[in-house]
């Protein structure tokens, strides 16, 4: 991989730090009126999810990380691994629980997800911003109450539990914002 110098640092650049691929979340030049310039970078370790700040001297360089984001279709879970397929090449990859993390709550078969590959292995799975999931369990809906007040928990087909309005019934299909985990509307 290419090396990147501090003047090429930017948000979203993927680099190797202490042996792990990291994403630059925030890049800020620090330059006192009198004195040397530094670059302060907020980094996210893509393996562990840890975020921290590291400071680089101007002109320092770091190795790029072979990290690629690619859209893939979710196929199935075999009890241990989650399987995805590249719709163009039909190539399949399997992601473990570590890579899938909390995203498993929003994975519906045949939905398209963004898979982050590091040296061709999946290290993280990002579901679409909005998913449509069926309610498998919730208290009966209240008739006539279509807009106002109150909420209740509902369990969705993936096992995720979200707060929904009182008028929602079992079997309804809901639109959920996966970034916040919140109910948006009936689909």
């Amino acid at each position: 991989m290419a090396n990147y110098s501090t003047n090429q640092f930017k948000n979203g650049l993927k680099v190797m730090i202490d042996g792990d691929p990291c994403n630059m979340v925030d890049v800020e030049m620090v330059k006192p009126g009198k004195g040397q310039a530094f670059t302060r970078v907020k980094l996210k370790n893509l393996m562990t999810g840890r975020t921290w700040e590291r400071t680089f001297k101007s002109g320092d360089s770091v190795e790029g990380a072979d990290v690629m984001d690619t859209d893939m279709e979710y196929l199935y879970n075999d009890g241990e691994m989650w399987h995805f397929m590249d719709p163009a090449t039909y190539e399949q990859v399997a992601a473990d629980a570590n890579a899938v993390g909390d995203s498993h709550k929003w994975l519906k078969e045949q939905d398209s997800c963004m898979i982050t590959l590091f040296n061709d292995n999946p290290i993280s799975v990002t579901p679409p911003n909005f998913v449509e999931l069926e309610v498998t369990e919730t208290d009966p809906g209240l008739k006539g109450d279509t807009a106002q007040g109150g909420s209740k928990p509902a369990t969705l087909q993936t096992g995720a539990v979200v707060r929904v309005p009182l008028f929602i019934n079992q079997g309804d299909v809901l639109k959920i914002d996966t970034r916040t985990g919140e109910y948006v509307s009936r689909a």
Binding site: N7, F9, K10, V27, E28, M29, V30, K31, P32, G33, K34, G35, Q36, A37, F38, T39, R40, W52, E53, R54, T55, F56, K57, S58, D60
Partner: protein, 327 residues
Amino acid sequence: MAIDPQHWQPTASINSLRKRAAIMAQIRSFFAERDVLEVEMPLMSQCAVSDPFLDTIEARYADYVGSENYPLYLQTSPEYAMKRLLAAGSGAIFHLGKAFRNGESGSRRHNPEFTMLEWYRPGLDDQQLMDEVADLILPILKLDSVERLSYAQVFKRFLNIDPHTATLEVLVAETRKHVDIDLDDDDRDTWLNLLMSHVIEPNLSDLGAVFVYDYPASQAALAQVKTDAQSQQVASRFELFVDGIELANGYHELTDAQEQKQRLLKDQQTREKLGLPQRPLEMRLVSALEAGIPDCAGVALGVDRLVMLALGADSIQDVIAFPIERA
């Protein structure tokens, strides 16, 4: 840097630009009332700043179109030229205009082309000039007062170390506690600067507006060096921080021509050691000091940052119509 044809719009709102213009007018009337003369200094010079940590942007000039061209340097501050005016008997002067610094982008507080207010007051020292800086900025920022802490006091308060006497090893160890950095450097000032920018400045933001004064003698730049009450050699230099943002830098100015010459030559040596470009030194400044410059204090203030603070903007790009990415 890529040019995006879609990015034709300014990054600052028209409303912000109106407020910016009002602050510029307020600055000019402040100095008019105090009988400080507005002067315009060359933005291009045959000489460049000596400071190893400032890089000048070069322009190319040809005596006639098509002839061989040679470099002119965009000024990083009007300081040298203004001191030549002071030596020529100008009295109190201010400059409100553009300054240029290479490589200073990629931050919410920097644009390589920025607006600098610089002024000089014969007969005042650094402490008295701090009063005047406060008189100017307090109404603009709608603040009541500015706290004053010495460089030693801020290090004592936030890190419990003495910046003047602490050994290199102590400074390195202290920095490593707070800053994740892979650095090998035997210059104490590098570590003091890291502690200042990474630990102290964020803490200063809780204090509102603060003058930090009496910097280490090794960071004197163009300030006089004096002995403080603790018999410590310190620079008669101050910086103003507002909400943790470095806003102004002032000196009780060096008037000793020989000392000035030594500092210019020393900077040039440092540049050589660091492999930085060697550019013509401003020896006319030395001549001006030899001819005699009044005892005075001077200060430079970042106007874009002042506007940013006055408007409560998060980023300098919010108060500049077309920052470098769109210029």
